[in-house]
Amino acid sequence: MSVIIIGAGPAGCEAAYQLAQAGEKVELIEQEAQPGGNLNNWYQLFPDRKSAQELNRQLILRLEHPNIRLHLGCMPTKIDRREGRFEVQLNDGALLTGQALLIAGGFQLFNAHRKEEYGYGIYENVITSVELENFFTNQRIQTSTGQLPKRVGFIHCVGSRDEKTCNFHCSKLCCVTAVKQAIELREILPEAEILCFYMDMRMFGPGYEEMYREAQEKYRIKFVRGRLSEASENKAKQVLIKAEDTLIGKPLKMTLDLMVLMVGMELSAGSRQLAEMTGIEKATNGFLRVKDPHFATNETNQKGIFLAGSCSSPMNLTDTLTDARSAALTIREYLKHIDL
């Protein structure tokens, strides 16, 4: 039996390997020139600060399994269902067939330009959490004027929990990412003042709350509960921000040398296209809807089409990999069933 997987990020790679190990043939399609997806942009992972590229390397290494055929730089142009089989036409002319289709198209990050009042792309010292990861990779932190920042602010919930950006959902990972990045920043800038502006601290995973405590006590990160309303820039290219310190009940203003926007997660454009091509329903948060939130978390409203990873909701890497293994099991059950 063969399974077609679309998307070779962590979810697609893990599901491909699990299915291949179980003896299924896997066609793995990736639109980029290399597998890994969003993991390629990350430096260290929470909560254990594992190297993101080390994990990526392990995932990619396992794609050398003889049962896996990897199609890089490819996109499906047409998906048909004929006599219980899926036929996927690729842009390079290949035609793949399989008994099951797994969508692992993942997420994309919120485009910070859309939150114009925060000044991304307008003020020089406003960056996103992804750009900060790149700074970490290069171990170089400085402002646009070439100085070491003395005060850095992390802004939570950018493009999440905000109906003004049409994103009602919580992206789940940005709180812990902010805490992780604040700690990493402290290690590079021992003297700087580092503040997080949050609406709620959502430290859902094992070890996360402990990390938050450590950030406060050991790493001297300050937390202010309040949503940034707007930002502006002064002559020195610092960012002036206004928020309410809601636990005090007073408006607060301060200047930052560097402002980091914790951009949220949305369904990726690729996943959206796949949903349109295959008739998979979307949930109210814009991600792909699973058939049942408890018993059928990898199935969809379309028989034979499955989901893995963050195309169904924001997930951390632990949950993404678990979800991929769960999808592999679900698909194997399904294949057994149609075998009869």
Partner: protein, 114 residues
């Protein structure tokens, strides 16, 4: 507060973080690192005897201090009866009572020196 013909002009309410003097907060954080762990839950102020009887909010005073706003602290800290109920309920292990004693000492030293 000034009163002009029935209109009053309040002092600016906004916390000007750049201008505020945060040295007392820094001293406290150095001296008692556990005070950095406060999450503003309000457990302390909910149980506080003084706070239930008078206009006194130990959670808020602590947070104001961290933003460099010490006026309320000076005006109100004496209301604390040092009963220690606040530290019994704190989920983050902040020794609020010890913090209050430390602040008392610092403030009276400052007053003494000025």
């Amino acid at each position: 507060m000034m009163n002009f013909w029935g209109f009053s002009i309040a002092e600016a309410r906004v916390i000007d973080y750049d201008k505020n003097d945060k040295s007392l907060a820094e001293m406290l954080a150095e001296e008692m690192p556990t005070t950095r762990l406060c999450i503003g839950c309000g457990g302390c102020s909910a149980t506080c005897t003084a706070g239930n009887l008078t206009e006194f909010n130990i959670r808020k005073l602590q947070m104001l201090l961290k933003r460099g706003e010490t006026k309320d602290l000076r005006d109100q800290l004496h209301k604390c009866m040092l009963c220690g109920k606040c530290l019994l309920v704190c989920p983050r292990g902040v020794d609020t009572r010890k913090m209050i004693l430390f602040l008392f000492r610092q403030l009276s030293e400052q007053d003494h020196n000025s």
